[in-house]
Symmetry: C2
Subunit: 312 residues, 2 copies
Amino acid sequence: MIIYWGNRDPHLRLPSNPSLSMNLAGLETCTTVSFDDELLEDEVYIGGVAQTGAARKRVVAHLNLIRSYAQLENRARVESHNNFPAGAGIASSASAFAALTLAAAAAAGLAFSEAQLSALARRGSGSACRSVPGGFVEWRMGTGDTDSYAISIAPPEHWALADVIAMLSAAHKPTASTEGHALAETSPLQAVRVAGANERLARCKAALLARDFTALADVVELDSTLMHAVMMTSTPPLYYWEPLTLTVMKSVRAWRTEGLPVCFTIDAGPNVHCLTLAECAEEVKRRLRALGVPETLTALPGGPARLIPAEG
Amino acid sequence: MIIYWGNRDPHLRLPSNPSLSMNLAGLETCTTVSFDDELLEDEVYIGGVAQTGAARKRVVAHLNLIRSYAQLENRARVESHNNFPAGAGIASSASAFAALTLAAAAAAGLAFSEAQLSALARRGSGSACRSVPGGFVEWRMGTGDTDSYAISIAPPEHWALADVIAMLSAAHKPTASTEGHALAETSPLQAVRVAGANERLARCKAALLARDFTALADVVELDSTLMHAVMMTSTPPLYYWEPLTLTVMKSVRAWRTEGLPVCFTIDAGPNVHCLTLAECAEEVKRRLRALGVPETLTALPGGPARLIPAEG
């Protein structure tokens, strides 16, 4: 709802601006981690496929961090399953690194608080810190590694919103978020976007707590377009919008003018998150399909990341 | 090429930033003005149609300004013809007010210099000041009414560029430029866009004078997207891009990567100006049509506004 884009410290993934989001029930990553002293190296499977290269390397780096906290040397086997498309700008890495953090920390015997787990998840993927607590969450900038984490500002049942995601493409985006974040500072607009983020976050939070959809819509769309303006004016420019993205954006605005409570926000990808009241989700979905949107996913506010005890 | 958006003085149409453009040969307005002491009120015909309401009012205001300089009281008959669509974001008001200024000033007996005519045209429509001198022109901000005008920085023959305009819509845009300019200050991005305009103009001018297409392309596209970022983050937001606008933008960038010298700039409308070398204009046109662009207009660098002596 208030988007994270750009890091003040890329290594620690300390963000340039505070952010706010809603966790999505039903769009989930399930990850199993087992440390095993017989393994010679970490094994990483995503959707049953053994990973090599950059994807594995990023997971191994996160395991190394957890091993360093736990003073553990064993290699691990990681198996992860998503029930939604990865790398398409619907926060799959946030979900994945939140799940990995909870599973690996538990398997390593770390007794971390929610805040500590959130900060740890942040090291794997910035927005993963927001996937640890439940409901509507705020990622506070903090001053360093230990106090830059997300907290729940309202439980899932606070407001029956729905996120109807217009899936224009399930393809992997050409520029991954990590590289995109690194380009943020090359845009002449990033500094002013960051400078206004506290004020937009305060407006968004107030609208959310007051359940004021109109006020929420205005600030959420402004914040989203500000981020894409930064992306499109980076060097090199990043154009995540597709023609159909723009069709959906303009249609959503027209529908709201007609009285349907719906607004858009767009992550680093072409897909459009259409926020609406849960009771209007079917109508929004119907209209999106009529525009030619090939697929939609609908999610309600979701709870926190949770441990599923191993069987047997 | 470097776009004008926002006024520091809306009444005098003193711009918030300096700008730079290329006059277009062949896209012309032909306007005849005759002052007549038998007329009871100004008569304004555009394309043979008698104008009433806002369009007439704006012309009458401009005639009043010219009458005040000439100490003239007679009403005038104005007949104007465009050979291209008006109000569709291809600078029809710039062309129209440059033509009106030259014709009316001559008919009123004003012996104005080019700079004075340019400043006078600016009062009718800001960018009209750039349609008075020939070739590649720079509108200097100036300090007030008399020194905010455009000058030619290179003649039309300096560089054989072409503007292949992807005409996505010849419809009148929903928000006229005058109202759009007034919204510029409501965007959090306008101040930073304005702050960088001198530097972008200097880069653009240097690229133009050196005939460096690659350098020109980068700054022209950045400047265009900065303006649309301002528009889309205004209150209310203005979305001039259509889905096909974005298709053309992304395609133009891909073509340039492949080696075709072409870049885009977009005024306050959905149509896309594809700047290229004159020798590549046919190829650009062919590719635009293959994308589904219904119509294109091609123009080469044009000369100054000129008086055509009345016949007989």
